[in-house]
Symmetry: C2
Subunit: 486 residues, 2 copies
Amino acid sequence: MPDNMLDEFAPIFYPKSHAVIGASSDPRKFGGRVLQVLLAFGYSGRLYPVNPQESEVQGMKTYASVKDLPEAVDFASIAVPAPVVPGVVAECLERGVKAVQVLSAGFREAGEEGARLEKALAETAAKGIRIVGPNCFGVYSPDGGITILPGATLPKESGPVGFISQSGGYAIRVPRRAEGFGIRFSKVVSYGNACDINECDLLEYFYQDPQTKIITGYIEGVRDGPRFFKLLQEVCRTKPVILWKGGLTEGGARAVQSHTASMGGQEQIWDAVFRQSGAIRVTGLEELLDTVLAFLHLEPQTGRRVCPVGGGGGIGVAASDSCERMGLEVPVFPVELQQKLMSIVPAAGASARNPVDVGNPGPPPPLLRAAMETVAVEADIDIIIVDEIDMTMMARPGDSTAQSSGPISERAQVPVDVRNKFGKSVVVVMPVEAIGTDVLESEGARRRVCDYYLEQGIPVYLTLERAARALVNFTGYHRHNRVLSS
Amino acid sequence: MPDNMLDEFAPIFYPKSHAVIGASSDPRKFGGRVLQVLLAFGYSGRLYPVNPQESEVQGMKTYASVKDLPEAVDFASIAVPAPVVPGVVAECLERGVKAVQVLSAGFREAGEEGARLEKALAETAAKGIRIVGPNCFGVYSPDGGITILPGATLPKESGPVGFISQSGGYAIRVPRRAEGFGIRFSKVVSYGNACDINECDLLEYFYQDPQTKIITGYIEGVRDGPRFFKLLQEVCRTKPVILWKGGLTEGGARAVQSHTASMGGQEQIWDAVFRQSGAIRVTGLEELLDTVLAFLHLEPQTGRRVCPVGGGGGIGVAASDSCERMGLEVPVFPVELQQKLMSIVPAAGASARNPVDVGNPGPPPPLLRAAMETVAVEADIDIIIVDEIDMTMMARPGDSTAQSSGPISERAQVPVDVRNKFGKSVVVVMPVEAIGTDVLESEGARRRVCDYYLEQGIPVYLTLERAARALVNFTGYHRHNRVLSS
């Protein structure tokens, strides 16, 4: 392993030239799709389709074989049937191709014959060519102009999040789902069976990559447990690593076997890995993205004392339940502070012990502002959670309390102002109120406000449970590192 | 307690005449809002605003006092300051009003003086008038033409679900959030401090109410534990009772104290109540609605053997993990069945051990159909879970696999056909792919398909975790009842 992974992997993530081996003129065919997706994504390097049967595919001149390529390309996508792949990769090595991604399946995961083919690939890799895959969707690297197999419409802008995925499906689903949350990626790698480049190599790459600030991963199993653990410990000291480990239940482990044929590993071992390395464990796609949002937008902190601010007493009860169940603290406010808050929120039935109940889900903006400012300045808490306050409501006839200014209502502006003015961490919970097509307009209004908060660097969550879990993950990482450094 | 709660509570849920005491001409004021909401909802009985200062409010003739009402009305909404309420309710009793809802707050939850006022209310109730509240949002009963305080836009059609809520906030949030899932209510009651009508009375009412098939509740504490438990046991034998108990954490219990001042109760006691009564415990609004969907649409069953059908191997791993963590079983299929399924799904990398991986999230409809039919007929499972298959994709140029027929794609039709043809329980998981405003159109497409599934009686869930939890809740109820009857 070279000291500098950045140089080693540059041909993969920033290929100046790219061959598509098995490129077809029919975009419904596998090799045709690979080429089509690269073209649609707008790859701007030198692109060479390789196809022995056709002289032109999708408007491009083809090359009959790897040997005929006009240059030793940085990278090649291989989309030919599995039995042919080892020969093609050997040719690539010979032609001076620096790295390949084998998108074809039918290797170790498919039985003995496939395992034999994969072994041949690994042997070729050892001779001096790097291989991503086989049985994968490849690499998405927006700044390198390349995208994974079905990722033609993924964002062209890059961001600070790296994603290592043993699953092709999640390699596409995670960045796609993340898009609406304003989360952008430096690189996503679907590494499949990992005959050469594996989770450790990628973890090391992202560790060194200055573009990547937050490392995420979906992992089913690791090849070299001790190396992975040691690396994880080191990486976590400077960059958070958010890992979704699949296959920890009996059925999940069975599914892993037929998916990437890696060893799932026992839950107890993984428990220890997470506890001792400081890596952040998540159990699903939603939790992964929710946790990323916290790391993206909140200042590093270890405090778990929160103040949920909501409208309606039952909401305060549920907020306390949710926060404490997840591991946050909802400290009772001193009597003086309670009294001060109650003078701001005079509604009978409201409460200010913490959570703070502002009386109803649509409070007048000045009231919400005064309550939040008082909490920000005087309460001994770390994070304010604005819980299910209706931020989408615009001015209605006869309703003087909901004046809008531009597309963002005065009420929706309050959390942003409080965060800016006092530097207090603020997160917002905004549920999807309904799923019917009839209310798509109100969903549009909700999303506009969400987008605004995300632009402003305020994490938005769909439920308080999800917010609380993300905050526990986030503060847990910083706690672990503080203990290490103390 | 009369044998027939239906007659006793008819004036509350189906009032032929209704007085609004404290009705104001200003809809921003409390009493003005109560009247406005009733008018907007379209109450069609005889409506009498009571206001001593004005002769007309919101275009209606007013009455100076309760004594002046032209008839002994069935029901009255009371929206006057707390100190005045006991006198007003006493007048109502005298005038022959059968029941009232006290929407005003400022009673037991507000301290000693409020407790004294509430005691006076309870004493009046004992003399022959039923009281909902105080400190509540009142009653929503679409067939009776009445709605809770901020519920002018709730659906006018009724349905089979009853909801008992100690929280006013949830009394509005639950039916509003439920609307998009096609869930409709027989009645929703926000009963607040329960000075007279309490959770037991309402449970008994819903038990007797032929319109209510599924009983749901948000409860912070109960007054008469033994009665509640005994009743719950009895009710659960014929109607499912889905309860969200708020305030089970320390912070939650504290919030309960300042919300409705009821005793939260210890978690262990509630554990036993749920275990022994067969009531279904949920911990939040989402789980409550998810569970209702299962009861609404699935045939009673106790089997927990599921077959997740998804596209992409990683998704199969996550599906197994999620299902087994929640308590479902994902049994391995016999080798013959695996082979048969693999002949249908020839993609390398796909798996048919269970979960069944159809290769990619957008499988050709005939392939999905053949795989699901084979599972429905030959697999020894109870429920098929269609997991994150893209149902919204319409025909694209050059894509022969996604032919649409009308607004519902051929692929989206498959789960409906399989359920209809084989009577096998099918549920569908369709996540919100993104939250940005830019993809609102695709969210619209998703919702159209969701609406279609719900119309067709197929429950739709946002995540597999939520589907699995709802199915465990649903099958757990029927298991409990089967054990009792065996």
